[in-house]
Point group: C2
Chain length 423, copies 2
């Protein structure tokens, strides 16, 4: 079978499956999820064997040890995956929620009701746990899912997807509700991106070039999970100890994630005192600073050990490492300008005691999540209390910021009448 025929066939099957899926009861869907979790554990030997092939391949291809570790499944990680699925089964089902309801003067009653989207395509890289996370959230919301994972984890992904489909089927999951594309080259992504008759939305999770390949080809809506170039702005009226604590947390607690800070913007009047408090702590964590002219000379005076001059490019960079760009600004407006110009509209924070400045910052910074006196690291489905998360959307439409179950649904209007016609 040609690749294009294979992909269209998968698309058509998903569309058929989505029609049955969208009408499953909450109880059936939850039973399906629990059966999926059970089957993952039953198949532990086969899944770990498939995973071992991926891990061996990755080592042979010289993947970095940290990346190999992210790829590796263990009995404990598989148990955690199964637990994660059972947890989603326990969450409330957003489908059929009545979002709004009203009666018009002519007597027609209009209800806006949450419904599954239909078919969701998830395009991701490396970590095999995305296979179960993504599939489970789609099934919970009554959507068929087409998964296209990376080549490094193809054997693990196939084993996991098969386990979930087989386990789920026993409890009533329609055939083809969970399909994994067995081909990992970019052509498959491009073909998926053209199938707007079969796929209602694509969610790419991965590096910039993967997302770019999806965006430039997609005919259907794409919910993007782009970079986080996140800022901490230390205002003139900041509590400087608090500012240092928030900055250290946002930069150092887990530098490799999208909600970590990449740049600190400091008000001119606070800079000297702030650097005195923050620089020693940043140095202890081994953070390299890339500073503008003003801050460079101040940090040099403090003998900061890992100091370089920032280039224009630095301010646009998501380092995902212990590197931080630094910028001194004359006022709040300049801080907002900097963030709007260089940021990625993901998560940005102001630290200040001045409520007026804070509210202005919240209103003028056009990011998915904007913070006053808290760390940007809270941009996360679990930290928001959402129970589950498919990712952090950097888009403005449909879903913005942490994306949970409701963001995997659409709505329909039901209109009930007694023969009304339009005059």
């Amino acid at each position: 079978m040609q690749l294009s025929d294979l992909i269209s066939d998968i698309g058509r099957r998903a569309r058929v499956a989505s029609r049955s899926l969208s009408n499953l009861s909450t109880d059936t869907k939850n039973a399906v999820l629990r059966a999926m979790a059970d089957e993952l554990l039953v198949r532990e030997p086969a899944i770990l064997e498939a995973n071992a092939r991926d891990v061996a391949g990755a080592s042979d291809h010289g993947l970095a040890p940290a990346a190999v570790d992210r790829l590796r499944l263990t009995p404990a990680r598989l148990r955690a995956m199964a637990e994660g699925i059972r947890h989603v089964a326990d969450l409330p089902d957003p489908v059929n929620e009545v979002l709004d309801e009203w009666t018009r003067p002519n007597g027609i009653r209009i209800s806006k009701v949450r419904k599954p989207i239909g078919v969701i395509g998830i395009i991701y890289e490396s970590r095999p746990n995305v296979t179960s996370d993504a599939a489970v959230l789609c099934i919970k919301t009554g959507n068929a899912v087409i998964l296209r994972g990376g080549s490094e984890s193809i054997h693990s992904n196939l084993a996991l997807a098969e386990a979930m489909q087989v386990g789920g089927s026993r409890a009533g999951l329609p055939e083809d509700s969970i399909q994994l594309i067995p081909v990992t080259d970019r052509d498959a992504v491009r073909m998926m991106a053209q199938m707007d008759d079969c796929i209602d939305v694509l969610v790419p999770r991965g590096g910039k070039s993967l997302i770019e390949a999806v965006v430039s080809n997609a005919r259907m809506p794409v919910i993007k999970h782009y970079d986080g170039v996140c800022h901490i702005y230390v205002d003139a009226a900041a509590d400087l100890e608090m500012a240092a604590s928030i900055l250290i947390n946002a930069k150092c607690q887990r530098p490799g994630v999208c909600n970590s800070a990449e740049c600190v913007v400091v008000h001119r009047d606070a800079a000297e005192a702030f650097f005195k408090i923050a620089a020693p702590q940043l140095a202890v964590h081994g953070v390299e600073l890339r500073a503008d002219e003003d801050s460079f000379s101040q940090l040099k005076t403090l003998n900061y050990p890992l100091l370089a001059q920032a280039s224009e490019e630095d301010y646009r960079t998501e380092y995902l490492a212990l590197i931080l760009s630094v910028r001194i600004v004359p006022d709040l407006a300049a801080a907002v300008d900097h963030i709007e110009r260089y940021g990625s509209h993901h998560s940005d924070a102001i630290v200040t005691r001045d409520a007026v400045a804070a509210e202005r910052f919240l209103n003028e910074v056009d990011s998915a999540t904007v913070y006053w006196n808290a760390s940007t690291r809270f941009t996360d489905g679990a930290e928001f209390g959402f129970g589950a998360e498919i990712g952090i959307s950097t888009d403005k439409l449909h879903a913005r910021g942490p994306m949970a179950l409701p963001e995997l649904t659409t709505y329909r209007y039901f209109i009930r009448g007694e023969g009304q016609i339009r005059e």
Copy 2:
């Protein structure tokens, strides 16, 4: 200036304008709208003169008289346009509405707040009133707008856009909030579709080929307003008089619009009795019927005057004319299958006294608006009570069905803390 430079320049200016616009107060925005309405009336002679050039050009190019009429502005139509703007000024402002708010165990307070999207591109054809409708709804919701109208109405559109921008400026509208692309070839559309750094969403309103040009080029989200291939399903348990009344209304009241019916699907057990009632009424309205084999022979027996056999293609066709396809089905499931297969997921209705059948139809037909015992002609912002409408979305994400002011907004999460960091 090259076309590409011109379009990028317009995009950049819109982005700048959108930042000021998003922070305008409701009062200022409403004052801006009223000033826009005033200026339209002040400039009546210039606008009508510009319009006369378009009308003359259209007649010269052999545009159909009905199309020329849609293009024509009169003092009364201009007054209606101004009235429409004042009406939008009186509507509630959705911006800054708190959609949700909660406090986490660690004390951070999360607020989900409605905010403008940023820059909206509207791509449309022919009727100049879209220029004011679209601009006004975008300004009300704090968005900058880039308008790209059709060549037939370019002089009218330029005159209207200038009047709105100049009038609005007097009341505080930021420069470049309303821009009209002065070039009407398709290259301009393709360039707009690539500018995802400057335009947050595109809303194409027009024929299929225009929408297709946008969809296949766009890097940003597109909210499509595609065809309405709408169905009336006459169930076995239908009140047949009601079914005929709804069908006549949905087909004949205004056949050229997207929410009119294009196909009647009839349950086998109701067909003979239904045709006896409906056929004479359809004949009076001069409706041509394109019938499947079963219904063809029944309608032939009734001597229906305008009868043809339906092709496969007929069932996919949005006639926008007094033509109706007819199909007899053995049961509800077959009716749903037909609608899912041939329909455009816009508006579909069941006529029945059987509540169980009705609820099944509502749940299984995956259309933006699904009706029980009412005409599909109610799919409309005004009929829904929305006060204003930018169109009918046939998409599933962000906006579905009638799109009003809230659908021209996004949201941001504001998180207020007291120094919280993530453990």
